[in-house]
Amino acid sequence: MSPIATTSGLTTTVADRPHLIAARCPMCATCAFPVQLACPRCGAMTERTVLPSTGTVWSWTVQRIQPKPPYRGPAEWEPFALGYVDLGVLRVETRLAGRAADAWQIGDAVHLVVGEAGGDGSVGEAEADGSHWSFWFEADPS
């Protein structure tokens, strides 16, 4: 696919919805996130693809102890939820937001959010203008 405006090569927007950019193997269809040059299964050179922006929680936990550097969270430490979200072609590890950190269940429906880092405590790569953007998955409204 052709390159689209991105946030540090991690995310893109298609039809007003954010998506994660992944690598896809033209030989065996294996996907990987973030983008890597070669396929983790067969070693062929990969192409870029976008992942579905909605999925379900495949596993989750709560980080209750502040990680060591290079973690860059907000000044005030607050436990946070994270997990793997099943997007069909791939399961992506992500911060989870939108409900109490310990209130998640496997199978919960979630959608991708791309925003300025800090809102959910997460940090992304710096843009050319110095701002930080990141992605996380948020609980669908029930």
Binding site: F33, K68, R95
Partner: protein
């Protein structure tokens, strides 16, 4: 395979004033003395350490004999790699006597990791997702869900580890803690509480190997290393520091290493009398029991609740308290497991001796990023 273990040495695990290298030296000297040989007799050596300095620096105090000394590092499976390397030197005929040694000295708290060492982008760690304990919890949470297992089993396993550690003079954690207290302790990464994890610690371990011919001349209590198998992950396993996972999950490195070890030894999991299994946290022991072939996935509750894994049970597991009671000095940890099995097979395990004269033993060490080494021992 035909390799014999003729001597073992262990510097206790815990926190000490001396350096990691000195603990490795003490363990090595003890193993040589246990074998009744001197450093001059050793024709090949392999050793590993993550934070204790270069393993081959040991030679400056063991004696500068010119012996080939290979330094190895394979994460938590470093001890298994050292043993594999040394045993292959015996098997190939390159040496009649070889030493495997490991030591370490880690700082407090979970290991910090540098994303670029793993080929990962900085944002992954900056966002707080590059934490080993999270991985254990995420893998376990899904496993408990898939096999409908009660998280209470984790507290029971941790209680067993601390109970066994309380009667092992070399263990770090010597105080038994009840399963109720473990279950009610502060959560670190749900569903794992603070008592369910091992902590990085300090210690040293060493094993002297010999060809069966030399072993016969030197020892009347040699233990046979019947098999050692080492495997890395295949595509589709769930390993630490994975920003994404394949939707197809395949069997982990442990499944293949254990299977290969049993095949090589010509016996199966049902024939094993005592085992040491990687319990980086209680959930690791739970999952590894099935991955090694000691039960079906989801069938662990029976083994745990019926007491089969206790020192007096059908398959005593982690008789020295495992990683939970000993902590994990990475370079030494895998060797500790083998040493505990050797002591059990020789009837030298003191208060924690497994009854009924055990004749076969099994060890499994597992580490990042998806490495497993298993051994089968017999006498």
């Amino acid at each position: 395979m035909s390799v014999s273990i003729i001597g073992v040495g262990l510097h206790p695990f815990g926190r000490f004033e001396i350096s990691g290298r000195e603990m490795g030296l003490i363990a090595a000297r003890q193993a040589l003395s246990d074998a009744g040989v001197s450093w001059n007799d050793v024709q090949f050596s392999a050793g590993g350490s993550r934070d204790g300095g270069h393993a081959d620096a040991l030679v400056s105090e063991l004696g500068l004999t010119g012996v080939p000394f290979v330094s190895v590092y394979n994460g938590c499976a470093t001890g298994g790699s050292a043993l594999l390397t040394a045993s292959q030197a015996i098997e190939s005929g390159a040496a009649d006597i070889a030493l495997a040694v490991g030591f370490d000295k880690h700082g407090r708290g979970a290991f910090g990791s540098n994303p670029s060492d793993y080929g990962l982008p900085d944002w992954y760690a900056e966002a707080g997702m590059m934490v080993t304990t999270q991985f254990f919890a995420l893998k376990l949470q899904r496993y408990l869900h898939d096999y409908d297992l009660d998280p209470r089993l984790l507290a029971e396993l941790a209680a067993k580890a601390l109970r066994n550690g309380s009667i092992n003079p070399n263990a770090w954690r010597r105080k038994p803690v009840s399963a109720d207290e473990i279950a009610a302790a502060p959560m670190v990464n749900d569903p794992l509480t603070t008592y369910m994890f091992c902590s990085p610690s300090e210690g040293g371990a060493a094993i002297v190997l010999a060809s069966p011919e030399r072993a016969k001349q030197l020892s009347d209590r040699a233990v046979e290393l019947r098999a050692i198998a080492f495997r890395t992950r295949r595509f589709g396993t769930f390993e630490v520091f994975s920003p994404s996972l394949s939707p197809e999950i395949t069997e982990g490195a442990t499944v293949h290493a254990a299977r290969a070890a049993f095949e090589m030894a010509g016996i199966g999991p049902d024939d094993i009398d005592v085992a040491q299994i990687q319990d980086t946290e209680a959930g690791a022991e739970l999952m590894h029991l099935a991955e090694c072939g000691f039960c079906e996935h989801g069938d662990q509750a029976r083994l745990i609740l019926d007491g089969e894994l206790e020192i007096g049970g059908r398959l005593p597991v982690n008789t020295d308290g495992g990683l939970i009671a000993n902590g994990e000095p990475i370079g030494a940890s895998g060797l500790r497991q083998v040493i505990e099995c050797v002591l059990q097979l020789q009837g030298r395990a003191g208060d924690r001796q497994v009854p009924n004269d055990p004749r076969t033993a099994f060890t499994q060490v597992y580490g990042a990023p998806g490495i497993s080494a298993c051994t089968v021992l017999a006498r």
